[in-house]
C-alpha cells in the first residue's frame, strides 16, 4: 500500500524524524488558514498515491495565504496521473541550499539502501546516465543499517566534512524506520539542507507491506479505505471473505470478458489464463486461490464470479490438487448454484478438478445435471477448449 504524503509524513514525524510542518486539507479556505499559521512560503501539493507529482503539475509554491488558497482551488477537483485530487497537502516551504537523495527498497534477497549527492532529481534518470553517482549497500536484516555503514555509504556518494555524520545519523534512523514500519519502499527525495545546516525530509514516498499489516493497526483503517475506493462490490466481497475465513488466500480481479475463470495456485492460473487468451477466449476475471481444506473461501469466490452480469460461462480449471480435497470446492459450487438458481444445463460449467476426494466431488457434482466434470486424462488445454466450445454453442447473449 502506497501512503499518501500526509500519512507518510505523519508517520516519519512520529518516528522523531525531521519533517516540515504541514497538514492535509480539502478546501482552499483551510489551506489559506494553514498557510497563515505556518507563515512565509508554503508548498501546496495534490494528495494522490503517485510519484512525480511535480512533473505532472501537482505541486505549487505560494508566498502568501491568498496565493496558497488560489493554488489549492486550482488543484482540487482536477485529475492528476489518473487520480482525482480530493485533498491537498500544505506544508511550510524549506529554503533549500542543497539537496540529497536516499532510498530504501528490497533487492533480490536483501534490503538495500541507495544514496546520491544530487537530490530532487529523477533517480531513474541518474541511474541511466551516471550510475556511479549512486552509492548502494545491502543491509544485513539481522543487524539493520549501522551508523558507520551509513557513513561509508555517504562517503562513497562523495560527501565529506561536517555534513557526513549528520547525513549518516539521519540515514541510520531512516533505516530503522524502514524496518520498524514494515516498509517495502521508503524514498526521501529530496532531503534538504538549509542555510542553518539543518537537514529536513522534504519529499517522502512510503510503501507499506500489506502482508505485515497485522502488526500495524495504525495502517489498517487506511488500507480498508484504500480498498473501498479502488474496487467494485464483488471484489470487495472477496476481500472481506478472505479476511473473515481461515484457509489459503483468495484473490479476485475483475476483467472485461465473459468467461468466469476459477483457478487454484498462482502459477497454473497464469498458464490457464494464457491458454484462454491464446484460444480466443475472454476471461471475466483473474482469480487465485491457494488450495486449503475449507469451503467458505471457494464459496465466496464462486459467488462473486457468478454475480458478475457479464459472465456467460464458468471454468473451474485447477491444476492437480495436492494440499486440499476436491469435494469442498464442488460443495461450494453446488451451494452457490442452488442459491442463485443457476441451471448448469443452460449455463455452461466445465470442471477440471483432480486430487484428494475426487470421487466424492464427482458424486456431489452429479446431483446437479449439466455440470461438465472432465475425465482424469483431460489437460489444462482440454479444459479451456471445452469451456469455450460450450459457450460458443450457447451463442452470445443467451
Amino acid at each position: 500500500m502506497r501512503l499518501t504524503e500526509d500519512h507518510a509524513k505523519a508517520w516519519l514525524r512520529g518516528q522523531g524524524l525531521p519533517v516540515p510542518e504541514g497538514m492535509a486539507a480539502s478546501s482552499p479556505a483551510a489551506v489559506a488558514e494553514a498557510a497563515a499559521r505556518f507563515g512565509g512560503r508554503v508548498a501546496v501539493k495534490a494528495l494522490i498515491p503517485a510519484g512525480r507529482r511535480g512533473k505532472a503539475g501537482g505541486v505549487a509554491l505560494a508566498t502568501t495565504p491568498s496565493e496558497a488558497e488560489a493554488a489549492a482551488a486550482a488543484l482540487l477537483g482536477r485529475s492528476i496521473a489518473g487520480h482525482a485530487v480530493e485533498r491537498v497537502y500544505v506544508e511550510r516551504a524549506v529554503a533549500i541550499v542543497r539537496e540529497f537523495y536516499l532510498g530504501f527498497a528490497f533487492g533480490s534477497i536483501l534490503p538495500r539502501v541507495m544514496a546520491c549527492r544530487e537530490g530532487g532529481v529523477e533517480i531513474e534518470q541518474v541511474h541511466r546516465d551516471s550510475p556511479a553517482a549512486i552509492a548502494t549497500r545491502d543491509i544485513d536484516p539481522a543487524r539493520g543499517l549501522r551508523p558507520w555503514e551509513a557513513t561509508a555509504l555517504w562517503t562513497e556518494a562523495g560527501i565529506s566534512g561536517p555534513l557526513l555524520p549528520k547525513l549518516a545519523r539521519l540515514t541510520a534512523s531512516l533505516g530503522e524506520a524502514f524496518r520498524a514500519g514494515d516498509a517495502l519502499m521508503l524514498e526521501l527525495n529530496p532531503i534538504a539542507l538549509d542555510a542553518a545546516e539543518t537537514l529536513t525530509l522534504v519529499g517522502a514516498m512510503v510503501e507499506i507491506d500489506d502482508a505485515a499489516l497485522f502488526r500495524h493497526p495504525e495502517w489498517q483503517s487506511l488500507e480498508a479505505a484504500d480498498l473501498l475506493q479502488a474496487r467494485n462490490a464483488r471484489e470487495r466481497a472477496v476481500i472481506a471473505a478472505d479476511r473473515k475465513f481461515s484457509g489459503g488466500a483468495i484473490r479476485y480481479t475483475e476483467l472485461d470478458g465473459d468467461l468466469a475463470l476459477m483457478v487454484a495456485g498462482g502459477g497454473a492460473g497464469l498458464v490457464q489464463h494464457d491458454l484462454v487468451v491464446d484460444l480466443g477466449g475472454r476471461p471475466a476475471c483473474h482469480t487465485d486461490l491457494s488450495p486449503a481444506p475449507t469451503v467458505d473461501k471457494p464459496r465466496a469466490l464462486i459467488d462473486a464470479m457468478l454475480s458478475n452480469p457479464r459472465v456467460r460461462g464458468l471454468l473451474i480449471g485447477y491444476n492437480f490438487l495436492q494440499m486440499a480435497p476436491c469435494d469442498l470446492v464442488i460443495e461450494a459450487l453446488v451451494s452457490v448454484l442452488r442459491e442463485k438458481a443457476i441451471d448448469p444445463r443452460r449455463f455452461p460449467i466445465v470442471v477440471r478438478l483432480f486430487g484428494p476426494k475426487e470421487a466424492e466431488a464427482r458424486a456431489i457434482a452429479a446431483t446437479l445435471p449439466g455440470i461438465q466434470y472432465l475425465p482424469r486424462e483431460a489437460s489444462l488445454s482440454d479444459a479451456v477448449r471445452a469451456a469455450l466450445a460450450a459457450m460458443a454453442q450457447r451463442g452470445p447473449g443467451s
Binding site: F106, D182, G266, G267, D278, L380
Partner: protein
C-alpha cells in the same frame, strides 16, 4: 541420486497438530517419507498420525535425529519458526506459508544462508524425490501417480505447475529426479539458479525443466549462469503470464510476485532472455513435453 532429500531424510513437522499439518503428514507417511517427529508448543507427548509430538524443534531433533523440517506455521510466525529450525541444526527447511512479511522473509533467508541451511519457500507446496521422499503436500493423495522416478529435475515457482509438468512428462515416459516447488513469494530462501546448480552436479539428472512467472530476477540468474557455462544440461523453460502484458502495469494477478513491476521481468522478456542464453523455451505444457522428448533423444533421458 537426487538433490536435497532422499531415502535417509528424517523429517520433523512444525505445526503438525493443525489442519494442513495433519492432512499432509498423513499422505507423506503413506508415501514412505520418514516423518520422525512433530512440534507444537504445549502439545509435547501427544501422538499425531503415529508421530510423536514435541514442544520444541531442539527436543525433536535430539530425540529423533531429524535433519529436515516442514513448517505449517502462519506467515506471522515463520521468521521465528525458521530461526528455531536453523538453531536446532536441521539442514533443509520447507516453509509453506505465503505472504510472509518482507522484512521477516529477508531476515529468515539471511539466517538460513549464513548457517548453510537450505530454506525452500516461501509459499511452496513441497519438494519430492520420487520413490524416496516427499516434503509437504506435493503429490496430494496420488503422489506415485503424479511423480515417477526418472532423470528430469524440475524447479517451479508454482506448486500446482510442478504436478502438471511431472504428469505431462510421465505421459511420454519421462520421470523426475527431484522436483522442487521453490515458492511463489517475492523473496524465496534459495534462487532458482541455486537448485539448477545442484541438478547440474547430480549425475542422475540429465535435463531440467523450470517454470517461471512475471516478476523477480530468478530467470535472469539462470540465464547468466547458462551464459557463464555453469549449466550445460538441457534446460526447458515454461514462463507463464504473457496475458498480463495486455493489462495496465501494477494490476496484480495471482502470486504477489507475479506483478509487472517494471521492465525486464515480464514473461515475454524472460522468455527472450532465456532463449538467448540457450534454453529451450516452451509455449505451453504440451510444448514442454515435445521439447523434453527431443532433449531425451539427444541425451538418453528415458529411464
Amino acid at each position: 541420486m537426487s538433490i536435497l532429500i532422499d531415502r535417509d531424510t528424517r523429517v520433523v513437522v512444525q505445526g503438525i497438530t493443525g489442519n494442513q499439518g495433519r492432512f499432509d503428514t498423513r499422505y507423506c507417511l503413506a508415501y514412505g517419507t520418514r516423518i520422525v517427529a512433530g512440534v507444537t508448543p504445549g502439545r509435547g507427548g501427544e501422538v499425531v498420525e503415529g508421530v510423536p509430538v514435541f514442544d520444541t524443534v531442539a527436543a525433536a531433533v535430539a530425540a529423533t535425529g531429524a535433519d529436515a523440517s516442514v513448517l505449517y506455521v502462519p506467515a506471522r510466525g515463520v521468521k521465528d519458526a525458521v530461526t528455531e529450525a536453523v538453531e536446532a541444526g536441521v539442514k533443509v527447511i520447507l516453509a509453506t506459508a505465503e505472504n510472509v512479511p518482507r522484512h521477516d522473509a529477508a531476515a529468515a533467508i539471511a539466517l538460513a544462508r549464513t548457517a548453510g541451511t537450505t530454506l525452500i519457500g516461501f509459499n511452496t507446496n513441497g519438494a519430492i524425490s520420487p520413490g524416496k521422499c516427499r516434503l509437504g503436500g506435493i503429490g496430494g493423495d496420488r503422489t506415485a501417480d503424479l511423480y515417477v522416478p526418472g532423470a528430469v529435475g524440475i524447479v517451479s515457482r508454482s506448486g500446482g505447475m510442478s504436478a502438471e509438468l511431472a504428469v505431462a512428462l510421465k505421459q511420454v515416459g519421462l520421470g523426475v529426479s527431484t522436483c522442487i516447488s521453490m515458492g511463489g513469494d517475492p523473496l524465496t530462501g534459495r534462487k532458482m539458479v541455486e537448485y539448477l546448480r545442484l541438478f547440474q552436479a547430480d549425475p542422475e539428472t540429465r535435463a531440467m525443466v523450470i517454470f517461471g512467472e512475471p516478476g523477480t530476477d530468478n530467470e535472469a540468474g539462470v540465464a547468466q549462469a547458462m551464459r557463464a557455462g555453469e549449466l550445460t544440461k538441457p534446460i526447458i523453460a515454461l514462463i507463464a503470464g504473457r496475458f498480463q502484458e495486455r493489462y495496465p502495469a501494477g494490476v496484480s494477478f495471482g502470486h504477489v510476485a507475479a506483478m509487472i513491476a517494471g521492465s525486464g521481468d515480464s514473461a515475454t522478456e524472460k522468455r527472450a532472455m532465456l532463449r538467448a542464453a540457450g534454453a529451450r523455451v516452451a509455449d505451453s505444457i504440451d510444448d514442454v513435453v515435445r521439447l523434453a522428448r527431443i532433449a531425451s533423444s539427444d541425451h538418453a533421458l528415458a529411464p
